[in-house]
Every structure is written in C-alpha cells, then in structure tokens.
C-alpha cells in the first residue's frame, strides 16, 4: 500500500525536479550558510528565476508538444525594444508601447507557428531562422530610426510598480510568474486542452486523427511562447529603464536547461508545468547560490553543466520507473 503511494508520486514528471531542487537548496544551505534561506536571499533567487520562468513554461509546453522555440532569444529583446522605442523614444503613452510589444510578439509567434505547420520543417530550424531574422530586423530598425542601439525609457510609477519594481527584495515579476504558472497548471493539467498537448507530443499524426486541431494548437503554443517572452522583455524594459538591441542567446540555453531539469522530455509527450517551475528555481538557485559560497566564481559554468547532466540522468531514471510501474498484484 505504502509502496504504491510512493510509486505513484515517483512516476510523476516533476518527481525528479523536486528532488533535485531540494538537493541543491540543501547543498547551498550547508555550503553557503543558513542565510541562503533568509527571505532576502530567497527573494534574490526567486527574482532571478521569475523572468526565466515565465518564458520557460510555454517553451516547455512546446517541447512537450514535440516542438522547440529558440526564437525567444529575439522576442524577449523585441518586447523590451519596442516598448522603449514607442514609449521612450517616440514618447507615446506607455500602454501603447506595451501593447505594441505584445502584439509584435504575437506576430512572431504566428509566423513561427505557420511556418512549422505549413512547411513541416523542424521547429528548431524555423525558429533559428526567425531568431536571426527578427533580431536583425530589430537592430536594423533601431539604428535606422534612432541612430543608437540603446534606448532609455521612463515608465509612470503605477506601471512600474505593476510590472517592474521590487517589494521587500522580491521583484513583482515573481507574482506574475506564480500567477502565470497557476494559469498554465490549470490549462495543462486540469482543463481538457492540456491532454491535447501531450497527445501531440506523443504522436502528432494519431493526435490529428483523434480529432485534435493540431495545427491550431501548435500555432497557439508558438504565440504563447513569443508573447510570454515579449512580456518579460517589456517588464524588464520598465524595470531597468534602458534597453539594448542585442538578442539574448543565453536565454535560449537557460530556458532549455530549466525545462529539461524540470523533467520535460526533449522528444515530447512527457513533462509538467510544476516540474518546469521547479526546474527554473533549481537553475536560479544554482546560479545565485554560487555567490553565497566561497567557490571561485570562474567555475560557475562548470557547476551548471554538471547540474544539467545530473538532472537529466535522474529524470531519465524516473521516467523509466514511471513506464514500467504498475500496482503490484496479490502474488509475488
């Protein structure tokens, strides 16, 4: 009986991610000192995680559905840049800039989605193309329009405190992140649509034959990830009040790491939103935790790499257990 409950927990996709998270927190609390668990430190790693987390969830959903989106490295910049351009450089009301940036994100998502659905080219390649095309377009347009590649922005106080401010060491984005996570948990694990995403990742042709509108779902997921990335870029523009026209290539790697550490299967069909949530925190804990230890920070890349490999191996083990798990029969 006990072993059955235990087995039931272990076969959940987030099991590995949760154990990993507890592991790294314990590690840094011991090595880095107990202050690593003080609210101010927690605020620090959660604030670090929030921006990444908001992008990682829809990117993770795409991965569950068997796709990949690496153009978020450009859309996060476009979100920031368009807000700053419209409301900073051209001095239009901030709301216009925010809407424009989210709208542009939606357009990029639609473009990605349509190209993937219509041409059947792997999404890795399509979004690699849009990554370059969009970031090139942004840079060119910014230089042509403003003559510089860095734009300042000052947002009204109310907007700042809604999207880009700190309260007691916690960035507001953390609240957005938790809210968005909750919405996605509902969408993916409770509403019937979530089932469709898993089915698409499991076997796209069968999913289509089962009556799932796979094309529309794929496009929707691409739009979600681009809009979420734009949203993060927009909030960062408001918070940091200044924007550079450089694509964030590292964000691409970071989201993939967070998602995979969170237990999502790169080849699709398996994963969970809560797992991605844990994976993002794990990533943030590791990158922030190093500052609380006496390790030389030159080694931080290595720690991240080893964490990733370890997490993936652990998740693999859990997935195999999930597949072969069945409640024990009476005998033997």
């Amino acid at each position: 009986m006990n072993s059955s409950i235990f087995g039931g927990l272990l076969r959940r996709p987030e099991a590995g991610a949760l154990i990993g998270l507890i592991g790294v927190i314990t590690f840094f609390a011991i090595v880095g000192g107990i202050e690593f668990l003080y609210p101010s430190s927690v605020g620090s790693w959660l604030s670090r995680a929030a921006a990444l987390g908001i992008v990682a969830i829809p990117v993770g959903l795409l991965m569950i559905a068997g796709e990949l989106d690496i153009s978020v490295g450009a859309t996060i910049t476009s979100g920031a840049l368009i807000t700053a351009l419209v409301s900073g450089y051209y001095e239009m009301p901030i709301v216009v800039g925010m809407l424009a940036s989210l709208g542009f994100g939606a357009v990029v998502g639609l473009l990605n989605g349509f190209l993937v659905v219509r041409t059947g080219v792997p999404s890795f390649i399509v979004t690699l193309g849009t990554l370059f095309a969009v970031s090139g377009l942004l840079l060119g347009a910014t230089v042509v329009l403003t003559g510089t590649t860095s734009i300042a922005l000052t947002a009204p106080e109310i907007i700042k405190s809604t999207f880009g401010a700190y309260f007691g060491g916690f960035q507001v984005l953390v609240l957005w992140w938790i809210g968005i996570t909750a919405a996605f948990v509902f969408f993916v694990h409770l509403s019937p649509f979530g089932n469709w995403i898993f089915a698409m990742g499991g076997d796209k042709v069968s999913a289509r034959n089962a009556g799932i509108p796979t094309d529309r779902m794929t496009i929707l997921l691409f739009v979600l990830s681009s809009v979420c990335a734009s949203f993060v870029g927009m909030s960062q523009a408001i918070l940091f009040q200044s924007v550079q026209a450089t694509p964030q290539l590292t964000l691409i790697f970071n989201t993939i790491i967070a998602v995979v550490v969170g237990g999502v299967l790169l080849t699709g069909g398996f994963g969970s939103v809560i797992g991605i949530f844990f994976g993002t925190i794990t990533f943030a804990v590791v990158t922030q935790g190093i500052y609380y230890t006496s390790f030389d920070q030159t080694w931080s890349n290595m720690v991240i790499g080893i964490l990733l490999l370890g997490a993936v191996l652990m998740n693999n083990t859990f997935r195999k257990m999930a597949l072969s798990y069945a409640p024990k029969k009476g005998g033997k």
Partner: protein
Amino acid sequence: MPTPILALRGVNKSFGPIDVLHDINLELHAGEVLCLLGDNGAGKSTVIRILSGVHKPTTGTLEMDGKPVAFASPRDASDHGIATVHQFGGTFPLMSIGRSFFVGVEPTKGWGPFKVYDRKRANEIAVKAVRDFGITRIDDGDRLVGGLSGGERQSLAIARAVHFGARVLILDEPTAALGVKQATHVLRIVNEAKRRGLAVIFITHQVMHAMAVGDHFAVLIRGAVAADFKKGEKSREEITDLMAGGASMASLEAEIASYMETHDGHPPPVAAAKT
C-alpha cells in the same frame, strides 16, 4: 432500400501527380458490415482517411443520410458520429490509459470556464471499456500506455473507437498484429456493434476474418472498385483472387494449405516452391 448512412459518390483522390483513387462509389448501411478488401497499396487506407476527415477528396462527394457533407477535419467527422481506428498508431506511449482513451473528447466536471478534466471518471470508463474487451490484466487507468503490450495497445485503440462510435465504426486492419484470442475478440465486437445498429467498415487481409463478419464486400484494385457484392454472392476462392488484386491466387494458397492434410509428418515436396 433505405438511404445509406454514409456514401462515396464518384470520389477521386490524387497526391500531387500520383492518382490514388479513381471514381469510387460505395454505400454503407446501418447494421451492416462492409469489408474493404484489396492488395497492399490498393488504396484502402486512403478511402478510410477520406471518410474520417483526414484527407479531402480531390473530386466527388461524401453523403451522410443522403445529404452531401464535407468533413473539415477528423474532429468534424467524429462529431458526425464516425469513429476510426487507423492502421498504425492511435495510442500515446507516455500518456495514461484514461487520458489516451479520451484524447480529444475529454470528460469534464465543474462549471463555466473552470471545467476540469475528470480523471476519475475517465479512468473508470477507459478501464471498463478495455476489460469488457477481455483484457482483464488492466485495472489501473493511471498506468502509462507505453507499458502495455502491442496487442493490448491495439485493443485499447479499438475499445476507444467502439466507445465513441456513435453511428459508424471504421477499423483499418485491426487484427493484423493481434493474436488469435484478441483477433477473435475484435470479430466479436464487430458483430456486437452491428447488432447495436452501427455501420462498420472493416479492412483485413485475412479472408477468414472478412467472411466471418462481412455482409457486403468491396474490393479495390489499383484505386478502383473492382467488385462490390453481398455476402454469399461469391465463393471464398473468388474473394481471395480479388483480394490478391485479381491474380489467381486462391488455388495456390489452397495448394500450400493442403500440405498439412496430404503430407502429415513428412516434409512437403519441393514442387510447391516452383512458380
């Protein structure tokens, strides 16, 4: 004669330059099993894909209850009461049995925008449907499909179609990978569906299976309907010939099959191997 539940009228289908179906006319009546026969590549699965909304005909029309219909998507077809088990796949290895069973038509509970997936009910229904099928080893709807054997998976896919097959049930080679016991179960289910008044389309390469359930037979040869006849109108040998694409195969098969009677215990003579 009553109006057919589903009919193809002069349907053609091409993939780019390749013409796959030529002027197909078929009728399907309630309480009747239509066996679609034909050689590999004859176009059987393509007919099925048109009927289930996966492909659209290049020319020609579909009729349901005598009225022309066009299925915009597989979902549209299933909304019209057509449930299909396609030749390969149909299950999702990393999903639970309950979720896999209800993919695309998830049962929900709750109200308004907060309708949530009803896991408990889905699992119960799915497990019951599969167990009714004779697969008694399955008792937990949360088990992942990837842990089931090939035959169990196929049974799950069929149980699903039977469960949702409101008016028309389409099975594309459902028995190909199944053992004797499971195949017999499928045949029994086809008969049960017919008894309940469903129309069934059944594809198989096994004459025995076809003759065991079919009321009506259509044979495709290179994308055209080469024969369309009722039960009893043709002999087993004639049907076998037609299934082989018009070649005169039945005699040969019978010849091979007859070894067992004529050469009990001895290796058969070499002659049969000559063509």
